[in-house]
Every structure is written in structure tokens, then in C-alpha cells.
């Protein structure tokens, strides 16, 4: 067995992508362009084993996500098991499939926190972005149900140039719904979002205004609403500390069982991923090539290698470096020290001023929609 080149502590969090099936079609979906099919999904027994392994490994929080995790009939079983082994349980959902009996069963299983995505505060625009008529109303109802059930609620507001003007209304909505936490998550440009970048990336001055609005709201709502803000870093001077460093804190398991250092990592060609079907989670965390490849600082090129921020931002994001320079081992172009930085800024400025295109909505390739979402899997 190959020894780890960069010793690492235990992971903090596991993103369990139970499925890629989802009733929505958001054009910035964080799932990969090639979606896992229902027949490829891990079975319940394997997930239960993986949850045990995660807890033993030191994982503290598990995020049940997708796709839409509510299409999995075993969700309550998995949540119950995660609680039993001491994990903090989060459900990351679009919530359009959430009804009162289902919520009750998840709560009874021990669910602690629900994160609901919102596409906008304007119902028509929200439904257009999600490609799901009536979705916004269902989300509002679901969010109220979550609070009435006494669970913690986070509103995940995905922001971009087609809804950013409504940021103040989004903050007000989060308060109105009784959320304890709001994620103002500007779209990050990988996969589907990269394909739709021209239609989504906001102009620089709007990003600046958003940063100010969030800073003002944070101060005003201290102790009442926690606001996390993820900005698009095309206009930044230094890159984001993506994932807190590659393979430092975080594991992502795709529906098929492949273990990824981040949800976008499959966009890096040539990176070999291991499956929980073949190796234990602990072995994968320590030894899997996908994890060791960019862990720590020894993989870094200049200017990262000698940079005094190398253990602060870890060279930025590997997937963004791949998407924008064709080399996953390059300095993230969001960094002003990257030779590609100026071009990135120009691209963002030009695209944000151009007329938005029709969205390329998230969907399975070349299959009828009936096959994407087997009717028997959808609660009615």
C-alpha cells in the first residue's frame, strides 16, 4: 500500500449525494454533466456501512443531498443511522417533494437541520430558473413546515445576474420564514453553471453591492440570522480556499459510490476515483489517488509553492484551474498572480454585459424524462 505523501487529520464533513434524480432543472446545478442513473445508485446496506465508517473516521456532520435526496425511500433509515452513530444530520433539499408526513418521519428519525434552496423571491422567475412550475410556492410551504416542526432551517439562495437584484428581498424572506441561517451562494462556474456562465455571471458592481448588502445585514441581524456569503471569485484578487484545502476536511460520495474530494472533481480528467463498493472510506480518505493528488502543498507550482498564502487558500480551486486553464495543477486563475487572471476578469466583464442566452437546463443526456424520474419513486 502506498504511504500518504501528506499526512492528514480526520475529515469534518461528508456530503452524501444519494441520487442525481431531481425534479428541478436548475441551470447551475452542482452535479456533474454526466449524471448517475438510478440503477447505479448505492443500496441502503452500503450507505449504512459507509455511515459507520464515516463516524469511525471522525466525520462530525453528514449532509444528505443529491440530486433530490427525498426521492430515496430509505432517507429516514439513513438519517436515523447517522444520528445513532453521533453525526450531525443535515438535509439539503429543493423541498418541492416535502410534505408533512414525510417531514414527520425524518424528524422522528432524528433529522436536525434542513437546508432549502430558493431560486429567487419572485415566484415566476424562480419557477423559470428551476424549470418547475409552482415550485416556489411549494418551497415556501415546506420551509414553514420545517419551522413548525421545530427543526433548524437554512435558506440556500443561489444568486446570479438574473436574481441578484432581489438580494434584499431574499434576506427578508429568510427572516420571515424563521431561518437561522442564510447562504447567499453566488453561482460557482463548474459543470452546468460553466455552460450557462454568460447568462449567470453578474457585473462586478453588482457583486460589490451584494457584498455591501450582506455586510450591512449581518451587522443588523447579529444573533438573529447567520449569513454566509460565497462570492463569485472571477473579480477577486485572491482565490477562495476551496473546500478548506483539497482533501483536508471534506468527502463527497456520488450516487454510484465514487468518493470525491469535492462535488465537481469529476470534471478533472485523468483523476482516478475509488468507490466505497471496493475500499473502505478510511482507506480512500488516506490513500485514494484522487485525494492525495492535490493534498497539502507539495503538488504546487510557482507562484503558489513559495507564496505565504499557500496554506491559507491552498492555491485556490483545482476544478476552476482545470476549467479555465486546462491544467488542474495550475494556480487558480482567480489569483492575481496567475498569468490567466487578467483574461478571467475580461471574460467576466464581457459576459456579464452580454445578452443572456437561453438556459441549458440540467438534464440527463439522451433519455426520455420518464426514465430520469421513475414515477414510483416520487411521492404523490
Amino acid at each position: 500500500m502506498n504511504a500518504p505523501t501528506n499526512p492528514v487529520g480526520p475529515p469534518l464533513a461528508l456530503l452524501a449525494e444519494l441520487t442525481h434524480r431531481c425534479p428541478l432543472g436548475c441551470p447551475y446545478c452542482s452535479n456533474p454533466l454526466t449524471l448517475d442513473r438510478v440503477r447505479d445508485e448505492l443500496d441502503t446496506a452500503t450507505w449504512l456501512r459507509v455511515i459507520d465508517e464515516a463516524a469511525s473516521l471522525g466525520v462530525l456532520q453528514i449532509h444528505f443531498s443529491g440530486g433530490e435526496p427525498l426521492v430515496r425511500r430509505d432517507l429516514a433509515t439513513l438519517i436515523g443511522h447517522a444520528r445513532k452513530v453521533g453525526l450531525y444530520t443535515n438535509l439539503i433539499t429543493s423541498a418541492v417533494l416535502l410534505d408533512a408526513p414525510r417531514l414527520e418521519s425524518l424528524k422522528a428519525a432524528g433529522l436536525e437541520h434542513v437546508q432549502i434552496s430558493f431560486q429567487d423571491t419572485d415566484p415566476a422567475n424562480a419557477d423559470r430558473i428551476a424549470l418547475y412550475e409552482g415550485g416556489h410556492e411549494k418551497k415556501l410551504a415546506a420551509a414553514r413546515m420545517v419551522r413548525a416542526a421545530g427543526l433548524a432551517l437554512t435558506i440556500n439562495a443561489v444568486m446570479h445576474r438574473q436574481n441578484l437584484a432581489h438580494l434584499p428581498e431574499m434576506i427578508a424572506l429568510a427572516l420571515d420564514l424563521g431561518a437561522g441561517r442564510l447562504e447567499v451562494a453566488h453561482v460557482q462556474y463548474y459543470g452546468w453553471a460553466l455552460a450557462n456562465r454568460q447568462s449567470l455571471i453578474p457585473p462586478r458592481e453588482e457583486v460589490r453591492a451584494a457584498v455591501q448588502a450582506v455586510a450591512e445585514a449581518r451587522e443588523r441581524l447579529k444573533g438573529q440570522l447567520v449569513i454566509d456569503h460565497v462570492v463569485p471569485d472571477y473579480y477577486a484578487r485572491r482565490p477562495k480556499a476551496c473546500m478548506g484545502g483539497w482533501a483536508q476536511q471534506f468527502l463527497n460520495i456520488a450516487p454510484s459510490g465514487l468518493v470525491l474530494p469535492c462535488h465537481a472533481a469529476q470534471g478533472i480528467p485523468g483523476l482516478r476515483f475509488d468507490s466505497v463498493k471496493e475500499r473502505s472510506l478510511g482507506e480512500i480518505w488516506t490513500h485514494s489517488e484522487a485525494f492525495t493528488r492535490f493534498r497539502g502543498t507539495s503538488w504546487m507550482p510557482e507562484p503558489c509553492r513559495s507564496c505565504d498564502r499557500r496554506e491559507i487558500d491552498f492555491g485556490g480551486c483545482r476544478c476552476q484551474a482545470m476549467a479555465l486553464t486546462g491544467d488542474a495543477g495550475a494556480t487558480d486563475p482567480a489569483c492575481e498572480l496567475s498569468p490567466h487572471h487578467a483574461r478571467l476578469f475580461e471574460t467576466a466583464s464581457a459576459e456579464s454585459a452580454a445578452v443572456p442566452r437561453e438556459f441549458t437546463y440540467r438534464r440527463y443526456a439522451k433519455t426520455p424524462r420518464e426514465e430520469e424520474l421513475p414515477a414510483e419513486e416520487l411521492p404523490v
Partner: protein
């Protein structure tokens, strides 16, 4: 709205926030929605006394006694720590 904590505030962990003894790292952690906070021994000791009924003054008395430390210093440290956690939504009072 958040106001300043005083000696008579009765702090407790926010709903959906809990402490856990983390065997993998050897220490207490605070778990909250999509947040993990590593607690040092003192922070863990303070939070263990925050049950929503005890006043900060009483918590300061207890810790000053345990550590044979000046009460006013202990009180200031407790208020500073809890105020920070309250601003982050992890503690109520």
C-alpha cells in the same frame, strides 16, 4: 435583536446546537447547522454549565472557585466568549 450579555443573563446552547466529545480529535466540539467549532478545555467547561437556567454570575462563581481565579476576570472572559457565540447564533440568552 441581540443585546449585550450581562451577569444576570441565562445562556444556553441554541436549539439544534449540541456538544459532542470527539474521540477522533480528542476534545469537545460544538455542532450546529453546517458548523463545527472545536472547543478548548475552558470553553467546553463554560458551555457545559450553560443550561439556560444558570445565570452568568453563578457560572463565574463556580469557575472562579474551581480554578481559584479572580472572579471578575473569569466573568469578563465568560461574557466575551458567550457574546461571540451568541452573535454567531450558537448560544441563546
Amino acid at each position: 435583536m441581540s443585546s449585550a450579555l450581562t451577569e444576570t443573563s441565562r445562556p444556553g446552547l441554541s436549539p439544534h446546537t449540541r456538544m459532542k466529545n470527539d474521540a477522533a480529535r480528542g476534545g469537545w466540539v460544538l455542532l450546529a447547522p453546517e458548523r463545527v467549532l472545536m472547543l478548548d478545555a475552558i470553553a467546553a467547561e463554560i458551555l457545559a454549565l450553560c443550561d439556560g437556567t444558570a445565570e452568568i454570575g453563578a457560572i463565574a462563581d463556580e469557575l472562579a472557585r474551581r480554578h481559584a481565579a479572580p472572579r471578575e476576570e473569569v466573568l469578563d472572559d465568560i461574557i466575551e466568549m458567550l457574546q461571540g457565540l451568541r452573535d454567531k447564533g450558537l448560544v441563546t440568552a
